[in-house]
Symmetry: D2
Subunit: 137 residues, 4 copies
């Protein structure tokens, strides 16, 4: 299944937690972006290089997250990355965050838009990138 195509491990540190003793709800968005970044890197693309050499920057256009049992300090989490839609100027990612024993912590769906670095206006995904992303779809 595409949602489990790529998985990235993150560790929960103090910086990720809050006074309720659990991972702060916005921290999961950081974990998901780390996983997307590493997925792109594993396909050969670094975002700073894309921005500087190809004028391409990815931005989140919308997202939805469902939270389950919260994670805590010192836990090791896995973040899945799956391409669920691939368009001309963007793509959709499904994330699932799980514990090492496989239990679900949260899930997310994120719509990514491809933008021009300077103007931040929409642009088509470059062909060399689109070709590679198709393998994940």
């Amino acid at each position: 299944m595409s949602a489990a195509g790529f998985r990235w491990t993150v560790r929960v540190y103090y910086e990720d937690t809050d006074a309720a003793g659990i991972v702060y709800y916005a921290s999961y968005l950081k974990f998901m972006e780390r996983a997307r970044t590493e997925w792109l890197r594993s396909r050969g693309f670094e975002q700073l290089h894309l921005a500087r050499e190809h004028g391409v920057v990815f931005a989140v256009a919308r997202l939805a997250v469902r939270y389950g049992k919260p994670a805590r300090l010192d836990e090791r989490l896995e973040v899945g990355v799956g391409v669920t839609r691939l368009g001309r100027a963007g793509f959709d990612i499904a994330h699932d965050v799980t514990r090492e024993d496989g239990t679900a912590v949260c899930t997310g769906s994120v719509r990514i838009a491809c933008l021009q670095t300077q103007s931040l206006s929409p642009r088509a995904i470059p062909t060399f990138l689109l070709t590679e992303l198709r393998r994940d779809h």
Copy 2:
């Protein structure tokens, strides 16, 4: 309209921005929580007090955010808080984040669950709180 019932102003600092020169997408979740916290405080409720004295903690069960034109360093944003659903053990909040000129930056809908402080299991919203929240619904 209830979505605009309470508005809280936040300023964009370096901490909120990223290397794309705009506000980082997870930072808006912080802004929204600050607004929810100040809305509750304006109704007479402080969360640390609720946790310690009443064993009540609020947690985000799910959320959806749509991002529009990104905000930048030094901007002053307003975050709206409106109650769109009020249940026995939780409530839904609609947020809108706008610039000073009223243009939209993003919108969010957040489902809040009422939990017991220690066990983090669901519990009913205390009556004194529910009575107050009803005025916003």
Copy 3:
């Protein structure tokens, strides 16, 4: 005393705390930067404008912080900003973070370097800025 020349109020939210139930140690650096930013703004300078129109960006070259009694969720803190040194290409700031009752939470001293926006290499503080900063010294 110059260290108390400007004071800025910050509120502690969940985002600032960690699983130890107190404000995370790096969060105080955010509070201090917010106070420096508002101090500059109160003197007529916005950093995005300085970067774009004058090619000036401020960066922290070194800092030291001493932590006292930790702050907690919902507390209102005051962050003091005082100029303790004003040089040609940078300045030093003394911060103190206090509770509403005046008790100390932490203190910081921060050396700021004036850099060119693009190259990030050192440059002299523009005269119009230096003139204004001298009033705080």
Copy 4:
């Protein structure tokens, strides 16, 4: 040399950067804490376990950081952890943050205090922990 006794690799993501295009100055404190946490873990100690089973929590009492050439998005950094002082109720850590080519990004020295979990008052480092930490000193 003890400062290089343990090294931990961190990757720079968007979350760590700011609108100046570089790593935000407080993010290095997160990197340093991740390295300290992993160093303790490598010695057999997890902080949540220490807090719950032994009533021990570590807090930063003071720190000093010197910043050099800033790091950017996508860079891989190494954070060194070395014990420079080991006392009855705390210890000092020297950190250095370097690029993959060995060039310095910043250095830090951090004084850690051993506290009781509930009261957050000072306490002696437990013997089993002290014995292990002595090997790094």
